[in-house]
């Protein structure tokens, strides 16, 4: 913390201003910021949904991202179909989320936060080791599917791989579906009611256990989908979920716990900070995110779009 103005601290402002002046670099960095942001959004929106409805902070959410990536890789190796790989990643983690919520998390509702954090902490440790057992401790790679191994697009001189566009498109579609689904459909209304007053909802004859399980499965599925989408462009390793988890926490905290729009905007901001920050502050990119979060929280303790919650 102290004396950051020390001259030996790595700062490369020339690279940053140089990039801001060149359209090609601007396009490249913005797209890479967007895909970081979109992946983060998918993970964070699940986190924020689970918190909004179940009032539980799912500290093991990163593991679902990790499982999504590994499931997708395995499915891709067996079938060679990219679509099946995505489906496996999403469906597998949805199932995992359902089982996890019904068997374990449902036992610690109403217990203090410490207990919930501990159960999740236990599963972070267990899931990482399970992946290490099944897939091995070394770095794995799924490889880019053949369909996307085409010439990258050139936009204003900046290189944009077509896969990035797919990724952004899928994430945006999910955002729209979620937003409309929660505000317009009957299920969405029931979910929002359960978030507001679970006792009343259950008195009206609606199975709240099913809603809780369903929301957890949905959150897990979104994280798993993010992992599956990330599998072709990132390397897979046990423990890969944790850094994503921390970042998506930052996103939910900045956006405001429980707010989907907040998560989207915060995720995009974090993505852009990461991609442009890596030019100006190559070794302090992560630090920039934490700094940004601290600044937001000092100004608005409930996040950009958060409501005053207990």
């Amino acid at each position: 913390m102290a004396a950051r103005r020390n001259g030996c601290f790595p700062v490369d402002l020339d690279a940053l201003t140089g990039c801001l002046a060149s359209p090609a670099c601007l396009v490249t960095q913005t797209t890479s910021g967007l895909i970081i942001g979109m992946l983060l959004f998918l993970v964070a929106v699940g986190l924020t949904l689970i918190f909004g409805v179940l009032k539980v902070v799912n500290f093991s959410h990163g593991a679902f991202y990790m499982f999504g990536a590994y499931f997708a890789m395995t499915a891709y190796q067996f079938t060679g179909s990219f679509a099946l790989a995505m489906l496996c990643g999403a469906a597998g983690t949805a199932l995992l989320g359902l089982v996890f919520e019904r068997v374990f998390m449902s036992r610690v509702y109403g217990a203090d936060v410490l207990m919930q954090l501990l159960v999740c902490y236990a599963f972070v440790l267990i899931f990482d080791d399970v992946v290490r057992m099944v897939w091995g401790p070394e770095f794995k790679s799924m490889g880019m599917p053949a369909a996307f191994q085409v010439m990258p697009l050139l936009i204003a001189g900046g290189v944009v791989p077509p896969y990035y566009l797919l990724l952004i498109g899928v994430a945006l579609t999910m955002a729209v579906i979620l937003g409309l689904g929660l505000s317009r459909t009957r299920i969405g209304k029931v979910i929002r009611a359960a978030a507001h007053n679970p006792g009343m909802v259950s008195a009206l004859g609606i199975n709240t256990g099913l809603i809780y399980g369903g929301v957890f499965a949905l959150g897990g599925m979104l994280a798993g989908l993010a992992g599956a989408l990330a599998a072709p462009v990132r390397s897979l390793t046990p423990g890969m979920g944790f850094s994503v988890l921390i970042e998506s926490f930052i996103v939910t905290v900045i956006g405001g716990m429980g707010s989907i729009l907040g998560a989207l905007i915060a995720a995009l901001l974090i993505g852009l900070i990461r991609s442009f920050g890596s030019l100006g502050f190559p070794l302090f990119t992560e630090g920039l995110m934490y700094l940004f979060m601290v600044i937001v929280l000092v100004a608005r303790p409930t996040g950009l779009f958060g409501k005053e919650v207990a």
Partner: protein, 343 residues
């Protein structure tokens, strides 16, 4: 005696007798501390095993850290997920002062505590007004901020390699910390002294103010307690003891590594508290010993340490729903209650 019983007994008594009682309790604490120190310090005379002494030194470092975390979690109800940053700060602060300046060890010790106090006051001023889950994650973010600062400021901290080349251990007051037994006795002394001080904080009127804030912060502020200031005070005090633990660790391994400031240290601290129990003062100490034994045995038996540790955590969190010391104390109280009813 648990703090709960002490509180109940205290209320039932008239003021002068309470005074005498707390005085007596204080003498009792001091004598227990002296006996504990004497027993620990005599250990090397009977057991020459280096592994045992190493174990006690590690217990001292983590015990101080975990007990200080309990001041926040158990006594004030502030679940910090970034307490490990002060552990790392202690290790790095001490290591850097010793490597760069060559001042005597006590000066470096006090200097490190001063730095910790300043950093903790700044971070605490931002964090302590936040509500529980936000507090947990903002402290976690500060932890990661310090961790990534350590990783990126390579010229000062050695980056991911850590502080290498050993930390000098010059002789002071006839104490030679390069000597294993001297180091051992020194860590026992720091442990016992640190625990005694924390016990005094916990049993002081301020300590009872903290319990009140934990139970009902709104009511505490209604009767005129400055909640923000009390929380900040205990945040800084706890940071100082955690930093002492970090200093001990740096002395022990003669270096400092980024893992000391990583979030897992905080996670382990929370788990130690859970394992031992947060309602008794010595719970975290018991938890530390348990976790280190578990750690040493499991890593010897299997490479899948996480699975075993995770299952143990689940057993405590879902099965027992409380720490070991809490369990023992409640069981004992229940038994005494039953015996009282029968006879």
């Amino acid at each position: 005696m648990t703090e709960l019983q002490a509180g109940q007994d205290g209320e039932a008594l008239s003021a002068p007798r309470t005074e005498a009682r707390t005085q007596r309790a204080r003498y009792l604490d001091v004598s227990i501390a002296l006996v504990a120190f004497a027993v620990l310090a005599m250990l090397p005379l009977f057991f020459s095993s280096k592994a045992l002494l190493d174990f006690v030194i590690r217990c001292s470092a983590f015990g101080l850290f975990a007990t200080s975390l309990n001041l926040l979690v158990g006594y004030t109800g502030m679940i910090s997920f970034g307490h490990g940053m002060f552990f790392g700060l202690g290790a790095y602060g001490y290591g850097l002062i010793m490597q760069r300046t060559g001042v005597p060890i006590p000066v470096a010790f006090v200097g490190t505590l001063l730095i910790t106090a300043v950093v903790a006051a700044v971070i605490g001023a931002i964090c302590v007004r936040l509500k529980e889950i936000y507090f947990a994650f903002v402290t976690l973010a500060f932890q990661m901020l310090i961790h990534s600062t350590i990783l990126s400021w390579t010229s000062l901290t050695g980056g991911d390699q850590g502080l290498r080349g050993g930390i000098p251990r010059p002789i002071f007051l006839g104490i030679d910390l390069a000597n294993h037994v001297h180091l051992y006795v020194m860590s026992c002394a720091l442990l016992v002294l640190g625990l005694l001080l924390m016990r005094q904080i916990a049993q002081s009127p301020f300590g009872y103010t903290l319990r009140m804030i934990r139970d009902n912060a709104t009511r505490a502020s209604f009767i005129g307690i400055d909640v923000w200031r009390a929380r900040l005070t205990i945040f800084v005090l706890a940071a100082l003891f955690a930093s002492t633990g970090g200093i001990l660790m740096a002395l022990f391994v003669s270096g400092a590594y980024p893992e000391f400031a990583y979030w897992t240290i905080s996670g382990e601290g929370i788990f130690i508290n859970m394992l031992g129990g947060v309602t008794t003062f010595l719970g975290p100490m018991v938890g530390t010993v348990l976790l280190l034994i578990l750690n040493d045995t499991v890593t010897r038996l299997t490479e899948y340490y996480g699975i075993v540790l995770g299952i143990v955590i689940l057993f405590f969190a879902i099965g027992l729903r409380k720490g070991l010391m809490d369990f023992v104390v409640e069981w004992y109280a229940q038994r005494r209650h039953d015996a009282g009813e029968r006879g």
